[in-house]
């Protein structure tokens, strides 16, 4: 017989898995880089968040809960800033290309 915490944990993990699946589909199916960036950061961080919540239900001790939340927080910071950096990179690259093509034409 499973306890209520275990059932909740399974439920949240499944939701998290669904968001990861959505992120992967977005990465594969979206048409251009900006869209893919979208799919990555949103679906992905929600997925990790739900899995962390699911694991918190079975983790047992307060330090572990703090560590799990810290991991989620770090992943949020990392993903969002990486998203900014990559977006900025694409933008800069297109500007460089315009400058290069401008005088030639």
């Amino acid at each position: 017989m499973m306890s209520i915490y275990e059932i909740l944990s399974i439920l949240f993990c499944l939701i998290g898995g669904f968001f990861f699946l959505a992120g992967t589909l977005g990465l594969i199916r979206f048409p251009d880089t900006y869209c893919r960036l979208h799919a990555l950061t949103k679906a992905d961080n929600l997925g990790l968040g739900f899995i962390v919540i699911g694991l918190i239900f079975v983790s047992g001790s307060v330090p572990e809960v703090i560590k799990l939340s810290l991991i989620w927080f770090l992943a949020l910071v990392g993903s969002s800033s990486a998203c900014y950096f990559i977006g900025n990179h694409i933008h800069l690259l297109s500007k460089v290309r315009e400058n290069r093509n401008g005088p030639d034409i």
């Binding site: 770090l74 910071v77 800033s81 900014y84 950096f85 460089v96």
Partner: protein, 311 residues
């Protein structure tokens, strides 16, 4: 379920490695190599070695990616060359070697014990609770000592190649970016904290000087990446002292045992000394790795070009 997991990890490791070797674009190979590190650390967890998973995570996610990306960035104008045509000539000997090695695995005796029992027998003498740390810093102290020596030799080699007296010459401020600065402010204290945590953990659990050193080095590299000037504030004499501190401290400890008419590299007050060595080793691993990553002589050109595009 476990076996399916192992099979899929094994197959994907082999597939990714094959793709890394055969793909034409260098950039794709490097991204695949980062993924390879991730899959490898999943494999370490399945093999019950959290120590190595942690080290692999720190090296594979952080430093290796940075090193290869930087190298590719400064060398990127090389065209992607076509692959050579001598496929079979090279492939068949490699296949033969693989067959030979597989043959040896099948003949490991079934009652093979390994060195585990011996280590757990001798563990109480070191007053350490965690066998891997005990092996690293006590039983196989030579290895760790020489490994610090290898790091030093690598830094010396870089200095020779660059024909420079100090690493610090190449430390240019990177382009100042608001998000870059923000992420430094947020992540750097956490890196120092987590590095310290891993070091403290090493006495009784997976963690220790290597992982902590790599994490601290990642922090230093990140400072440099985000264009923070604070690395240059450390005087280069201190830089050198920190670099050799692990090696020298180990040597002093090892030869001090000669004074007591004991064997080389044995020590009476094991635990205190071992922890001291561990802390010094962490610092020098961190500083040496930072120096190795920062040593990029071609950076000047790129910087000038960037200034031109900005103005």
């Amino acid at each position: 379920m476990g076996l399916i997991f192992d099979l899929i990890i094994g197959l994907s490791l082999a597939g990714v490695a094959w793709r890394i070797v055969r793909v034409r674009e260098h950039f794709q190979a490097i991204v695949l190599f980062i993924t390879f590190g991730l899959l490898l650390s999943l494999a370490w967890t399945r093999l019950k070695s959290p120590d190595i998973a942690i080290a692999e995570a720190a090296v594979g996610a952080g430093l290796a990616g940075v090193l290869l990306m930087d190298a590719l960035g400064t060398l990127s104008s090389t065209r992607n060359q076509p692959l050579p045509g001598r496929f079979l000539q090279l492939f068949i000997p490699c296949l033969f070697l693989a067959g030979l090695m597989a043959y040896t695995i099948l003949f490991i005796p079934a009652d093979f014990q390994g060195l585990g029992p011996m280590v757990s027998e001798a563990l109480p003498d070191t007053h350490l609770e965690y066998p891997v740390t005990a092996v690293l810093l006590d039983f196989r102290g030579y290895d760790t000592w020489l490994e610090l020596g290898v790091l030093l030799v690598a830094v010396l080699g870089v200095l020779c190649v660059r024909q420079a007296g100090t690493i610090k010459g190449s430390m240019l401020p990177a382009p100042a970016e608001p998000v870059g600065r923000w992420i430094i402010k947020l992540l750097l204290p956490l890196m120092v904290l987590i590095g310290g945590y891993l070091l403290w953990l090493g006495a009784f659990a997976p963690g220790g000087a290597f992982q902590a050193g790599v994490v601290l080095a990642s922090g230093g590299v990140m400072l440099w990446q985000a264009g923070h000037p604070s690395l240059a504030l450390l005087h280069h004499v201190w830089w050198k002292i920190l670099m050799i501190s692990g090696f020298v401290f180990f040597l002093i400890l090892a030869s001090s045992s000669l004074l007591y008419n004991q064997q080389f590299m044995t020590h009476p007050e094991a635990k205190m000394w071992i922890l001291g060595v561990e802390y010094a080793a962490t610092l020098s691993i961190a500083i040496c790795l930072i120096s190795l990553v920062l040593a990029s002589p071609a950076r000047n050109q790129g910087d000038q070009r960037a200034r031109k595009t900005e103005s």
